[in-house]
Each structure stands twice: as C-alpha cells, then as structure tokens.
Amino acid sequence: MGRYVARRLLLTIPVLIGASFLIFALVYALPGDPIRALGGDRPLSPAVQAELREEFNLNDPFVIQYVKYLGDLVQGDFGTDFRGREVLDTIEQRLPVTVRLTVVAIAIEAVIGIIAGVLAGIRRNGFLDNLVLVSSTIIVSIPILVLAFVAQFVFGLQFGWFPIAGIGDGWYSYLLPGMVLAAGSLAYVARLTRTSVAENLRGDYVRTARAKGLPKRTVIVRHTLRNSLIPVVTFIGADIGTLMGGAIVTESVFNLPGLGRAVYDAIRAQEGAVVVGIVTLFVFFFIFFNLVVDVLYAVLDPRIRYD
C-alpha cells in the first residue's frame, strides 16, 4: 500500500507539471501587452515598463520563462502579480472562502444525496424512488448558471431567506451557493446510491444475512449499506477536488471572494502569475483527492489490493 501511494504520487508529478505548463503556455501566449495596459490612463514610463518586463522574465524565450517559474514554484514561490502583490497572499486570502463553500456543498451532497438514495433504493419503484428519479433528471438538466439565478431570485429575493451575495453572514452566506454548487452532485449521489443499494439488496450475501436470522436493521445497515456506500463515498471524495476547481460560476453569481472568483478576475485582467498559480493549485487538489479516493477504495473494500 505504501509503495502504491508512493508510485502514484510520483506519477502525479508529470501530470501536475504538464497541466501547469499547459496553462502557462495558454496564459503567456495571450496577445496584448499587460504591462502597457497596467498604467491605464497614465501610461508607465518606458523605463518602468522595461524594468517590469525584466522582473517578470517577459523578455526570455517562453520555455525559459516557464522553467524559471517552475523553479520558483518548487520553492513555494508563486511569484507576484503586476502590482507587486504575492500570489501566495492572494491564495491564502481566497482559499478559505473556496474551502468553506466546498465543505458546505459536500456536506449537503452527502447527507441529502445518500439519504434520498438509500430510501429510494430500499423501496424500488415506490413513490420516493420515482420522486428521486424524476427530480434528479430535472436537476441535472439545469445548468448551474440558471440554477444559481433561480436560487438567488426565489430564495434570496422573493422569500428573503438567504443573503444573495457576499460572505457577510458567515457560514450562513455559504448555504445557498453551497446548495447550488452541490445540486448536480447531489442528484448524482442520490442516483448512484439508489442503484447501488438496490443492486446490493439483491446480492447473495444479503440473502445469507437474512438466512442467518439477523435483525432487519442489521441486514440493511451492516450488510447492505456498508457495501453500497463504497462507490458513493469514493465519488464524493473525488468530487471535493472537482468542486474546488468548479466553483467559478457559483462564486461569480453569488459574489463570493474565493479562488474561482479570483482566477476569473485574473483571467480578465491578464494577470498571468495569478492565473497559473491558482489553476495549478486547482489541478493539485483534483489530483490529490483522486489519489485519496484510490487509497480510500482499498481501505473500504478489502478485495482491492494495489500490491
């Protein structure tokens, strides 16, 4: 197991480097001159411009620029934006918002999704089962953009239950955006759980559990749910990484100052260092949580061994 994790970690390095190079290439292939744009109405003097260019290695060939950047990155230096602000500072400031949003979304997705899925799966073709099927089909068809506006309008403006923007109300401000971000995954978790529970209930070992005279509760919880939730838990684990990098729209609509919002602003402002830094971080989270899930899988299912 330890060896497997080590090997997987090694394998992630080229992917991480490749992804950061790809994004670096895209960002610095941007035409237009960010330095000249920096001064706005009062252009910077040519001397200052040249100085900035030198500082940001903009005169070097592209690949050299990247290698220099990577060298700094390895030492934990994400570089600075054109205004001299450390990218790491931006990340440190914005990360907690994204983390909170993700935590809320994952909690909603896990709790509601699993409960709905289990109830639907236990009584297949019952009322609840059909409700879960129909509502999940509808929910997955609503683009998150639309969902965000509907939620904002209905629950924020019409009913006034939730703040519609910002993080002024602490954790409570994350509830509505969290629900929006979680909606699709929630529907998916509910369906995955439903299928898995229904499939396991037909399993031979559940029949054995009943033949052993175990109480119904034990048959369901210990011998059905424990097995059924393996794919669900691993999906939710991987979803953490996906949602962290997938919150651009939600953070934009609800005006949450998280990493998604930051990277969006940076793309618009052509702040290359910020874009590359944050996207690399997203990729890292994505890869990291996928690795966690692989390990988790082996922990949850004794049949899987990676040696």
Partner: protein, 350 residues
Amino acid sequence: MTRPDLSEPAPAPDPTGTPVLEVDDLHVEFRTRGGVVNAVNGVSYSLAEGETLAILGESGSGKSVSAQAIMGILDSPPARITGGGIFFQGRDLLTMPEDEQRKVRGPGISMIFQDALSSLNPVYSVGFQIGEMFRAHRGTSRKEAKQHAIELMDRVRIPGARARVNDYPHQFSGGMRQRVMIAMAIALDPRVLIADEPTTALDVTVQAQVMDLLKDLQRDTGMGLILITHDLGVVNEVADNVAVMYAGRIVERGTVDDVFNNPAHPYTDGLMSSVPQVEHKGGRLLPIIGQPPNLAAIPPGCPFHPRCARRRLEADALPGRVCDTDVPPLRLVVPGREAACHYSEEVLGA
C-alpha cells in the same frame, strides 16, 4: 461429477423420531411483468432428526424456491407464498410473527448456498461473519464471538483457524469458503440444515471432502439435513430419502435405494438413464427429450406428459387417467414409495 454407483447400497434410513420439519402443501408463485410464475405447486415433505433428505430436480423445478420459503428469505415481491404451511417443531413458521420467525433462522434452521464467494459479505472478515451469529442471537460480546468463530473454523477443519479468522472471504479457496459457510450455518447448533447445491461450484475432490464434513457434522449433532442437488452421485452417497421434483411438484418420493434401483416415475427413470453408470459401460445414455416446462404456463394434466415416452392420451388411456388432462396425484404406489404418475405400476414393472 461423481458417477453414481447404483450397485452399492445407500446407507440405511435412520429416522430417529418425530419430524422436526414438515412442509405441507406449499405453494409459491412469482408475480412478474410477464405473468404469474408458479414455482412451487403443493409440495409436502417431512424431515426427521438425523435424516438426510435429498431433493432432486433440474433447475427451475422449485427445489431452491421451496427451501428459501422455509428459510423465509424469498424476495417478496415478486415471490408470494400463496398456500400451505411450514412447521418447525410443530409451530407454523408462516403464521408466526416476523420477529419470531427470524429467531428460528440460525438456532433452529439454517442454510448454506451454492456460491460461497458471493454468499459471504466481501467486506467483513470470515471471523466477523461467523461470530455475528452469536452476537445477533445470543448477545455475545465481539471478543467472545471471535473465539467461538475460531472454534467453529477448527471444527469444519479449516487449517490454521486462529491465523485466518481475520481473513476475508476472497482470500480463501472455494472449498475453504464453503467450510466457512458451513461453520456459520452450524454455529448455533440448528436442528435442520438446508444445503442448496453445496458442492456444485467445487472441484470434484473438494466436493467429496465437503460432503464428508456435512455427514460427520450431522452424525455429531443429530440435525436433519435437506440436500438440494441435481447430482445423483451425491444423493446416492449421502441421502437416506429422496424427493424428486418436477415443475414445482414432488413426482416421486422414497428411500434412495428404492428410487434409484427401481424408479416409479418416468421422469425419475429418465434421470437415471441419462447418467453414465459403471455397470452399463458401453450402453447408450438416454437424455430426456424436450425442454423443462415453462412455469408460467405449466402443461395441463401431468406436467411431464409432453416429454414422457410412456404417456397415454385419450385413445389408450384408462378413464380418469388421461395424461394430458388429468393431474396425477402423489400416491402410495408400493409401501414406502409415492409417485405422481397414473401408470407408476407399469414404470416399476418395466
């Protein structure tokens, strides 16, 4: 497949008393989208302490379904028990409250299945799964339950029980897994053990070991054993009595010796002729022609008549004994032998 050696006498029937289990006119049907499937149509039998009853039949004959009905583990829906009674030590399981019925499973009746790999929960250790019997029925502590599990694994002759108690089912070989199933089933010293094709999935050499183990355990505990199988050799070796099932009915019943040596039903006769026999080397094997019946549309009259070489239709049948219209009841043909054929006497004489 073990070849049945019909010349060797089967062990003498050893019914040591009153029946511990009685099945009376059991009916089970499955309601599916395609219609009603009549899986079990009036099956009756009884089992004494220490008796081994083999239930023989091809797949779809209702032998497993009736066993699952006894265990109360049919999936309903779609399955429904539509009639009859199942009496364990005189009490009808079907009218018992669910919770009491549950308490019979394990300490009273238990069951082992064909595919031990899929019948054991892959995510728990075998020790846990065996110990669960004690924890659920006797409230034993987890630690003590594991101790019991080790003893049981020893008893079913799993080498290195103490070292393997925390292993998972997939880490065992097929034969060892079936032993784990057996250990679990006998944990609470049941009075009846139902073994549903316990050796079908195993290698021939392992089959014999597992059957020996079952017989030894039965001798030690005096439990009744219902052996569901389509393997004539196994039946011949271990069973006292045999009930042959066809289309959800028992078509012949008697001691293994009698039934094997001189079948009273054409279906049983066909089964015997379709198996290679040592003393008939070089003789032709005679398969039973036709297909097993569709349980959603069982033929009228004798369900076996479309495949029966001895059937008598309108022209040459005796009155009230027309094979394609009159259902033959299971009746005493000669002492100790029942068969559901209008013309059993002829089959016997042949």
